[in-house]
Symmetry: D2
Subunit: 421 residues, 4 copies
Amino acid sequence: MTVPSHIIEMLKKLRARYEAEPIQEQMLPSDAEFTTLRPVRKASEASVEKYWSRLSETASADDRAALADPLTMEAPDRYNANIENFIGTVKVPVGIIGPLRINGLNAHRDFHVPMATTEAALVASYARGAYAATKAGGISTALLYEGVIRTPAFVFDTLLDAGLFVEWVVREIDALKVAAESTTGHGQLVSVEPVIDNNIVFLICRYTTGDAAGQNMVTIATNALCEDIVARCPVAMKTWYIEGNFSGDKKASFLGLVTGRGRKVSASVVLPADVVQSTLGTSVQAMLDYGQVANLGSHLSGQLGAQAHFANGLAAFYIATGQDAACVAESAIGITRMEPRGDDLFCSVTMPNILVGSVGGGTGLPSQSAGLNILGLKGAGKGAALAEVAAAVCLCGEISIVAAIAAGHFTRAHENLARQR
Amino acid sequence: MTVPSHIIEMLKKLRARYEAEPIQEQMLPSDAEFTTLRPVRKASEASVEKYWSRLSETASADDRAALADPLTMEAPDRYNANIENFIGTVKVPVGIIGPLRINGLNAHRDFHVPMATTEAALVASYARGAYAATKAGGISTALLYEGVIRTPAFVFDTLLDAGLFVEWVVREIDALKVAAESTTGHGQLVSVEPVIDNNIVFLICRYTTGDAAGQNMVTIATNALCEDIVARCPVAMKTWYIEGNFSGDKKASFLGLVTGRGRKVSASVVLPADVVQSTLGTSVQAMLDYGQVANLGSHLSGQLGAQAHFANGLAAFYIATGQDAACVAESAIGITRMEPRGDDLFCSVTMPNILVGSVGGGTGLPSQSAGLNILGLKGAGKGAALAEVAAAVCLCGEISIVAAIAAGHFTRAHENLARQR
Amino acid sequence: MTVPSHIIEMLKKLRARYEAEPIQEQMLPSDAEFTTLRPVRKASEASVEKYWSRLSETASADDRAALADPLTMEAPDRYNANIENFIGTVKVPVGIIGPLRINGLNAHRDFHVPMATTEAALVASYARGAYAATKAGGISTALLYEGVIRTPAFVFDTLLDAGLFVEWVVREIDALKVAAESTTGHGQLVSVEPVIDNNIVFLICRYTTGDAAGQNMVTIATNALCEDIVARCPVAMKTWYIEGNFSGDKKASFLGLVTGRGRKVSASVVLPADVVQSTLGTSVQAMLDYGQVANLGSHLSGQLGAQAHFANGLAAFYIATGQDAACVAESAIGITRMEPRGDDLFCSVTMPNILVGSVGGGTGLPSQSAGLNILGLKGAGKGAALAEVAAAVCLCGEISIVAAIAAGHFTRAHENLARQR
Amino acid sequence: MTVPSHIIEMLKKLRARYEAEPIQEQMLPSDAEFTTLRPVRKASEASVEKYWSRLSETASADDRAALADPLTMEAPDRYNANIENFIGTVKVPVGIIGPLRINGLNAHRDFHVPMATTEAALVASYARGAYAATKAGGISTALLYEGVIRTPAFVFDTLLDAGLFVEWVVREIDALKVAAESTTGHGQLVSVEPVIDNNIVFLICRYTTGDAAGQNMVTIATNALCEDIVARCPVAMKTWYIEGNFSGDKKASFLGLVTGRGRKVSASVVLPADVVQSTLGTSVQAMLDYGQVANLGSHLSGQLGAQAHFANGLAAFYIATGQDAACVAESAIGITRMEPRGDDLFCSVTMPNILVGSVGGGTGLPSQSAGLNILGLKGAGKGAALAEVAAAVCLCGEISIVAAIAAGHFTRAHENLARQR
């Protein structure tokens, strides 16, 4: 049997389905009538009502009550800057961990951290890691670098024109910087690096973005930069695009791993042997042994960097604090290290792509704002600390999961918490 | 100046900070006293109250009201199977798009799709894509493959022992399958593939998981498989781990791209030239031209596959329907293609790692359940259709963003929707 | 200065060049006359003479003598099956290392290994590693897997047709296997795995190839398989290609890392602490410490797997034994591990993509044949052993370079051997 | 059958082998006596003789004659700067292609290009591509960037120390540049970029290397830089390494793809429709259609960039001109593009990691020197042109193979040339 059994298994399933229904027609386009939803930018009680009347075929009154609850409907316009076609809010449960002691360059005290998730065992696991880290004296953190990227692309007829374009851009860089920064009070264009692929030029534009995550800020600034180029550059251009799908926006990329995107933070702690034993129920050596296997697994499966589950901590933290949850895709890469320090265990994470803001995005919504307030990190001047807390939280998660797998507790935790309640 | 300016810029910032405070001490561990939060698995009004009293230093009564609102506090135990240390719920706004016509193997009708996000313009953009696709007759979809992976690792003394172990596993595979499947009524072990790195063996265990996303299911089944191995295998084993960090769980990996993890779905539509013009405000040729540049960008920046922003659609869809938002990290990879078909535009997405369930996880919570009900896809027998809808939604997003960038609308959309309200 | 200095530096150089010459014209196409070389498949003294007369404008009589030397010109037709447009031979110096003791599944004795390179210090370094490994009792090796891949691609109108095609292929797999294997006495089709991207299907066809490297063998067999498909498959096909650029032929790929291509071999040795000290001039701990940093470097720079310089050993071994040197691109990936074993050092390499043959390709040429004879591995029944030797040689190189860098000898070795002679 | 058939097939083979021999003992270390070869740095007739007497057990007099032929033995010391333990030379057949017209920034005329390979059909295929390109008016090329990297690593106790170290390095950068450049008359340190992973700092040191490939040059220069750091830096350092396995030396890496290593060259040509038809036997549309599938294959199999077989051209070119063949591993990545230009076909390659020199390495050896002389590119001032020729040659190969696969000729070419002579 030369074809793998799982393929054959799958085909059997499909075939059963084919036979039940006339598959050919089912997958063809259909020109049946339809009435599209009218777009609504400014939500009101009436607009929400109208949408729900359209949804009544599938959704019940209870469903409507669950999303368009009284608190949400008190002021649906509160969400106008964050969503279109508003029909209510989904309630994601929030758990709290802490105190998590952080001895950071920007974050420097004990924090209670809200985490929003529907996955059992997650909060408990991060809480355990936080407890171990705090018992060990807390986590050292440093924001190492900032640089949100936009990468517009410019298309020319020839390689020569592409080269002449780069020369012009470099010569005009100061004026272009002024154009870009004219659109923002907080962002600064800190680097422009051209990448040429024959007749196409990408400009890697890196910005600091103050306390905001800054994805819109850099788009608008880069647009101004591009329009200034287009207005003044003498080299004939075929076309240009605000983004050449090069920046790694909303996706894992080696560019992000190598050069960073957003905020790059490193966080570490040395766990004394007795803390490992008493709080994590395993030994330093067992964690190191597993670390070697986990590192091998990361290589052989083609991951970007090596880590266990940054995504769990990031998603829960991003949702609870009004960050862009889609950025988990790009943020959840980096390096976790565990090494012996005498009898103790050095643990670190270095995360090159954290995208968080203490202002902007979803941070102003009531419950998200509450999440930031629990941290004490809402508003101006708190962006860097917020990024350091995000990394520290991820370190807690790495410590806890590595300990659990090393000790053989991992499955049991999930059985207990998710299944058997 | 041999050091890049953005590095120097960053150092200046750091130095300013150093000078203001005695940095050395700030980053040292501290043994100040602390009282950790008492873990709570079964939430009650009292437990929530207790936590909030601890949080009162940073959080206000308004913050508490925003998270622990009356509706949430009606029955805090509702969340017991999904979270620990519960303090309330974060409200993520939900917008609706549709109808989205899907002509799929498993999903086959017009859908209204709830999307939860705090990022302005996202819902509007996906709605536009859905409108174009539906006008074109709808999106063809097919679930091509299922296979959630767990990859336990086994450590031996020598390469020879590793080889003998693999031989034993292959010989005993039927019994091991029975052991694994004894833990679940829905999961099936469809493939076991050994990967040897000298003295370490990973077993890639692939499962179908019925209508659940299945991450816990496969962990528990694999644990049973491992325990059966450990009980009976005569080859001396140094140690084993339930997961060798090989499966790609919660992270982007080339293993996932190449072989799939979770559900693999392909979705496509041919957009007639006039639909492109009238609904997307651009031309087929403009979208194709941009597609070539975007593909180049994906290669040069080292992405896994080539796509624009799967993560946006996935995160909004996962949160609105009670899926695991952390899985966005692994799901947001794959391929978007745009090609000419005569004068028209063929568009497809193929997504190898969709992790969704119509049962289990967060799907039973009230507002998440409402999200599934809007789709008409809650409960048994709906998992495959749910995965097809997820892919179709992502295709809508790809169509819309490519059109927006090709037409030069992208920045304007974000300016209008996020900033100028 | 927002543009990196190295970019500016580079532009200055280019500008200097622009100014010297009228750059625009220089890069335009030119329609000046030219006479192309007449292709020659069967070399003769006359054909070689004719080519050299054409080359006399740039090349001297000495140059001709160096390539078209008397030994080469004795029988230029000897090279007919290996090259076209023959003008002579380039002489690559060969050094010898050994004895290298191998305790392998297929290779099992002490070997002297020829290595062809022009890079000083390379042979000395591998010789040192071989000495250490042999002193430690020799290297254990095992060929773990064979599977040279061809991946034809088939293009359909729709996703549905692609699915129907896969179903047909799976049903007809036995007949297709017969078709493929009818072309070869040595190759066997061991697996066919379909990968669907909407309307395009790749078939990953894996073969064992006997004692040959087998790249041509699998091309021809797969062509027969495809022609059988085309002749008999009822699903309407738009077009097909013998290779969809999916197989990883002649290039590094994660597919190769994850699933193997060619022969997968693992090799290991435990170096006693005193051998490390006496033969490598460093300590086990120093090598382990460097190993951790080297592993980090491999992650952060986005390598495929983690290793130091497989390519050096492979290129030298491939050239000396008549293998395809271009395959270094795909073979030079994999994993090197160094771990403590008590006071001693466990070292291993696992290389998933070794492409070697003891027959075919360049193995029959006089000096390449001599290389294989030195190893005692020419001809039928020796392919597996040859692959094991290749991996063992690479392990020697890894041991030596890690020791050199750990001890701080690396630079000195290159200074001495390359520069100061 | 849950285990893939190719695994079972493989195990059967292994088992057959186990049964034949007592496998356990065979793979154990052995302490049998052995006499290692005495290392020889300066070859002489006597040293070569001595080695061959040791090899006589496996190798015949004919083998010896094939490697240690009279021409080689005329002056074995000629190879002293390039190899140790010299026993002769392997003769790699060289074919010639051309004229290849290049309209480059640095290379600007018609070239005849020597290619050394043992793979049939390779030279013929590149010759065909060269003919098509030259008929089209020639290939435009530009050296876009130079920057050979060394990346020393420095290990500290804490993240804070790592930060202080970076600050010191940046402050001292001018002095460090002087230290580095004091070791070389040709190399220039053009950029130093620190990358921090918690307590470990990598310094990405980029150099221009004049006309040499420069790998040794940058090692020696970086060593001087490091020693200056160690001598003067006040931050306590645990250890340092000349190379942190970060530079991508001798291996494919995303760092190299994203930022370049060695010389980055782009080359392009527009092939008129009639040239495609008459010289390549296919159509522009057929090549474009295949290009889309090949691009998809490159994504799905996890390649670095997208190209067909750079490695073939590079290996043949590197060997024929005395370059380091091991560098094929890092050089064989990049981007091939094929796009419509009206009715014609735009083709380009952009190769970020070409490592060639017109001086140094193996370029001074007689037959390698002859290869460079055929090109007219030996010696000072020719390095940049040599890199442009390398890229142009690869473009010829891409054109020819894409045409062959698009036209269905690929298999036939290999059947004819390799098998049926």
